[in-house]
Symmetry: C2
Subunit: 246 residues, 2 copies
Amino acid sequence: MRSAAEAAPGFIHVPALRTLGSRFTLEGEEARYLARVVRAREREQVTASDGAGLVATLRIEQLKPALVLALESAREHPRPISARLLCGAPEGERGDWLVEKLGELGVTDFQPVESDRGRWPAGRDERWERLAVAALRQSRSAWRMAIHPATGLIDAMAAAREPVRWLADPEGEAASARSPGADSAAVAAIGPGSGFTEPERKALRGSGFEPVRLAASRLRTETAALAVAALWAASRSADGKSGAQA
Amino acid sequence: MRSAAEAAPGFIHVPALRTLGSRFTLEGEEARYLARVVRAREREQVTASDGAGLVATLRIEQLKPALVLALESAREHPRPISARLLCGAPEGERGDWLVEKLGELGVTDFQPVESDRGRWPAGRDERWERLAVAALRQSRSAWRMAIHPATGLIDAMAAAREPVRWLADPEGEAASARSPGADSAAVAAIGPGSGFTEPERKALRGSGFEPVRLAASRLRTETAALAVAALWAASRSADGKSGAQA
């Protein structure tokens, strides 16, 4: 899938980009990434994103002893249309790659949801942040997926403002008949490995979450989350290339 | 996602189902699965699929010392419309969960492709077969995904007879504008981690593979494969529930 990007410059995540000025020294993870993975050389260009809309073209002025970068140009990208997932805990160790894939497919908000039948394990925040940054690099995005702290379903529903609302449900209406369209903010709720309870489903339907079928067969939690993200990614790319690409 | 299925009986894969007669003893992996994972009890019903179209309802006559099952009814399901993926090698250890997810999403044929920029590691056949069986159980399918031996791109193209042909390509036409429809056999080619070479892309286009964009941003190999599978699963479920469900 990368053929078009091979000639593209290295891409790094610099959260403080907005405040660093026109010439700055970069340390830590992203500096190591540029040197060891990208193997960037002096005088080469590098693209940097702050994960919050700002994408800059930088020139490597010096590699050693410190990495010094000069700002050549910068551009603001509008916040993408919201694509939020309220996601119950999958079975086993499937959360990590789920975060990576959702970030890559352009989900804007990942909201782990504690529910009666599934609890998210603690202590993953730092790893998930790293995976979201890796997804931002991979997709060369201006915006990084926000990973929200795990919360109860009621709070998660209350925080979701998106008008298009899906409840992943093998008995629901076909997803292909309900595409949210490229301009609609959307949220989807995905049950944990053992499913939402009937009261939870009722609360979701009462909040306007409509049952939507993603495939002819039952899907695991993480597969359903990924299928929603893939469907939305396709419908959002129908308008042409995203402004979020560097 | 499982709420509708919680009351459903256990589901097992019995390749020899067609030849076993109306009462038989089951040993090995699936017998252990029934006893330890499903925790099935005597007199309970179990659903079995041979992964090649036959789905049967069985009754557990005896659990110990041997698992004895009696056939109550059986039904043939037509072969699903072909959904084939020619897939270059992803980076790192991403092949395993790719196989699991593609099986779950109803891909019928998984064809690993050796290409100039990516070689599949050897020695995965047995593990992949297990993952395809796990996906069959999860999706309660009549048909199991076929996993073909890795082959060169030329051979893989020659073996693909599907009329709808996609080449995953960030520069292609939007996937949402090119849905194959529920009744069309389809094949997609996904490049390895570093992408197809230009001669490979040319060969694919010459064989009718049309560049299709899956998302606004670049996707990793395994994410692209999964996105194709999710799009096809949604379009195929639009006609109503699959006949492949037990």
